[in-house]
Amino acid sequence: MAYLDINHVVRKFGGLVAVNDITVGLEQGEIFGLIGPNGSGKTTLFNAINNYYPANSGEIIFKGIPITRKSTHEICRLGIGRTFQVVKPLRRMTVLENVMAGAFLRTNSATKARDKALEILNFCELMPRKDMPAKDLPIADKKRMEIARSLAGDPELILLDETAAGLNLVEIEVVMAIVRKIRDSGITCFVVEHVMKFIMGISDRMMCINFGKEIARGTPREIASHPEVIKAYLGEEYAKGK
């Protein structure tokens, strides 16, 4: 049994099947990349894992514990942190306060939460921003703050939803380095990303989905040359021409 086991998960929105029978297992300590065209159901799969939108059927098991019916905050306490594709900063709180809010998951003391938050801010290279209100941050820093905020809760598995979208090349390098550091500290990473340079560069294993269904799985190299993936991204014509 894998570290995070996703078994036949289905999630529908009305008539639309956003996640259609996905089965995948993540191993402890790896970076697992998930790609797919826009609207293919990646975010929905994340939302099913931490139960923002409960799965209609199927099962999700984390470290041997079924979490399909647990509430979002319980799942977080069990050790699954996440970031949001559409960032959700706690707008009127400062960056430090945002990260402290995450750190309080494992401590009741404000001093300890503060120390933890400062340590994480340092790790994510956000120190200079710590006293800025979150709503005033540029997008790149908001995304990084989201990572910091969920790291502060000492997750064992972190779900990163498009943390590189909208960033410039320098910023992408910084985030890539941070994700590698996160993995090196022993945290398993489940990464959704459109920026190929990013996801191909860091993933140990990858999966590609389209219309909610798995179409390919393997190493970054295998995925990059998989005909189904090329078809999904570039269209039928291009795939044939190759």
Binding site: Y52, H73, C76, L90, A101, F104, N108, S109, R149, G153
Partner: protein, 323 residues
Amino acid sequence: MAEIKTMAKKSWFLPAILGIVAIAFPPFLGGYFQHLLILMMMWITMATAWNLLGGYTGCVSFGHCVFFGLGAYGGGLLYLHWGISPWWGMIAGPLLAIIAGIPIGLVTFRLRGPYFALSMLALGETFRIVFTNWVSVLGGACGIVSSRTFGVEKLPYYYIALVIAALSVYVVYRLMHSKYGYYFVSIREDQDAAEGLGIPTTRYKMYALIPSALFTGLAGAVYMNYMAYIDPEVVFSLAGISIMMILAVMVGGAGTLGGPILGAVIFVLLNEGIRAAVGPISYLIFMVIACLLIMFLPDGIIGDWAKIKRAFRGKKPVYVGGE
């Protein structure tokens, strides 16, 4: 939160001076001013209590009269049925408010934003109607008349109200500087993000509701003892209690420690203080001020203090951080 912290560091002597004035001066004041001060303390307690749930946690309740009314009726009912001194209401009232608050929270916290506000409004009205109509148990529309322990003497009531007001401010201050405070504000800023950070949002809303109900109930119990007369149209009043609590907080500044205090003082001064001079128009004046404030300083006098300073000095924008 940053704002509160710097304020507290810089000026611990401000509360100290206010405290000394509040303790030492009232004995030298006339009965009318003592009456105003008692009302001020009551309203400071209520506004502070409302602010904990509404201003900090973001659950804007349009029905806090439920807790005020139950706080008042706790003692009233003991007196009505068993002739026990209404002072026991200081325990029974808030207890009743909390006992009612828990199921109310469990039901209404499932709703968000304006729907929560409206469901609280509906509950407030329901309580008013039930207390008006259930004559045999609750006394009905005529209300309950009790006796005043201290006769016409006002000072004892003032000191009791002062202690409760100070306690409410202190409790909120302590809560807001602990994990609870961070969690309350997180819930207000983004409930989904808060859940995702592992915050059990419903439970923490409840942690905000319980002290909020407790202090609102205490204010009700003080009111009951001081007035020696309660009736459902007054203590469960939508316009007179629930709405005024919100407007007082809005005027001063929601989500700040000082806002409810300032708002309550302004409200009592306008509503009671100048009524003697200008008659019922004082209420209209308060409403006009409230409208103008919401339009031009939507975060209240304290919340938008930077804006006010800027307007007067023509300086560059200064950000007042935190909440």
